[in-house]
Subunit: 172 residues, 4 copies
């Protein structure tokens, strides 16, 4: 049986923040995605990586959101299932951008992120990456966020900042 | 939006084994499922627990497999999505039993387990439980195993003992 | 055999920083010392806790250093072995202050801290706390820092910011 | 300042047990000491390793205890501070053997072990290794066990199997 192909686009965000001992802060410097992937058992899939940027999503420009959308759709059109690792603050902007610009892509595009960096002892990073990698194999073509044991389809998704998770926008 | 209802049936297996300091061995004594569940962020679902047995699956009898199959299908007929935590050595026997006895259940039944107990520093237990809890929300009614980033449908699944994972049986 | 009495004075610093999901930064808000202590096996000692302050040591005033020195010596005069958990940036100021103000205390006073918060997956916090709790039982009366597998006596200790650890000041 | 030299003699025991997925048991196969050492910050010391054996101490013969004692004392006579990693069940036999055969060695010899393997999520292995590496720098020449935040001198030490730790033998 042919292995399913998944491309992970990394853009930064809390999930990838690492600790700098000298300054004592968490920042997006190096990607820890490879460490996370190495800690998972991934059978039946063939994973490629695209390191697009490494930004706190609060610092993303309109151009960044468009670049992320175009990159994801280009890969989906080439037959890849796509996971996008993204800061949660502006994740919904990138997700909506894909749908606005391109409608339904030919393969699933699943966004994910984390409220607590992988570097922390207690983190949702591995859970969310695990969920995105599985969801992208199971859902029909479309654009989604997978996090905290739920999968929501764009358009109509927003971050609930108080609860620290994603919800459907009312009326959608 | 109504929360999705998931019932987890625990039967034991490697995933739940704990370490006994006095004898120095890993055994199925107390369930660590609640600790695992507490470490995950589970939104949008309502989880119930059924502690059916706590056995190494190598010690399961034909009656045990039937009991597991009957319990899972009874819950699925009551409208529950069902996750079964099971030892991997005989997981496929229980999965096949469900299909033989009852065909396709009205709700998804997803089996999972682990090659390395949750108690270990390096373990696939949380990954597999995460995958089962997500898969049961996404797949159509049927009987499955979710583990190591893949979801396989019964009948026709077996453990590959050398690779330590599940594969499709040849010819199915 | 009577249990040895140790009092831990907590003052904050990197070792105790916790992650705030909403602001996305590590800060001194609640003490995680009790969680650290619960994760260690501590036989033969009776531990008391004094929560004196919870500050990044870069924000400590001259008064803070004096308060820490006076509190530590008061406890040592009452027969307690004393461990002081402290930010590393100004730890040496507090250590030198004890010696300047009070000379050699009647019981050992051992400072410790960490370069990486306990909340991180990879941290020196538990190692350093373990070392301070053991050193305070083994060294003669005096003022010390215990960290990174070495114990250094005040006066004459300084932080080597490049190496991220403590060293003897040249000529002492 | 010259770095202090410490030699670690590994003999096996619970602390070093690793999990074998195929058989599902914890056993002494490969040494995890190097992984443990890499996770600690060790300044001011120069560590050498002697892998003497890798045995559950319940399987040690009289010859094994003698070999451990002779190796430790040979190294101490060569000017090394010595840490011996040992199964706890027969640790006291090896410690007493050193004193019986050689009296007080010229450098400290500190035994340590663990009740729960390093491979477990919750373990006393790193704490005990940390304590042994620090104690061996602070205690006067003699033979000791360092574990669970206490250091006890041979002769006169035994394992309290109910409490899972070491205590002084009554009357010593």
């Amino acid at each position: 049986m042919a292995k399913q192909r998944i491309t992970i686009i990394s853009t930064g965000g809390t999930i990838e923040k690492t600790y700098d001992e000298l300054s004592g802060v968490l920042a997006n410097k190096v990607s820890v995605l490879d460490v996370m992937l190495a800690s998972l058992e991934l059978r039946g899939v063939e994973i490629s990586r695209v390191s697009l940027m490494n930004k706190d999503s609060l610092e993303m420009s309109a151009y960044d959101h468009t670049l992320i959308a175009e990159t994801a759709v280009t890969l989906a059109r080439a037959g890849e299932s796509v996971v996008v690792v993204h800061g949660t603050d502006r994740l919904a902007e990138s997700g909506e951008r894909v749908v606005e610009m391109f409608g339904t892509p030919p393969r699933p595009i699943v966004f994910t992120g984390a409220m607590r960096p992988y570097e922390l002892r207690s983190t949702d990073a591995l859970q969310n990456l695990t969920e995105a990698l599985l969801a992208v194999q199971l859902v029909p073509p479309g654009v989604y966020v997978a996090m905290h044991n739920q999968v929501l389809a764009f358009p109509g998704v927003q971050k609930d900042r108080g609860a620290g998770t994603f919800v459907r926008r009312e009326g959608t």
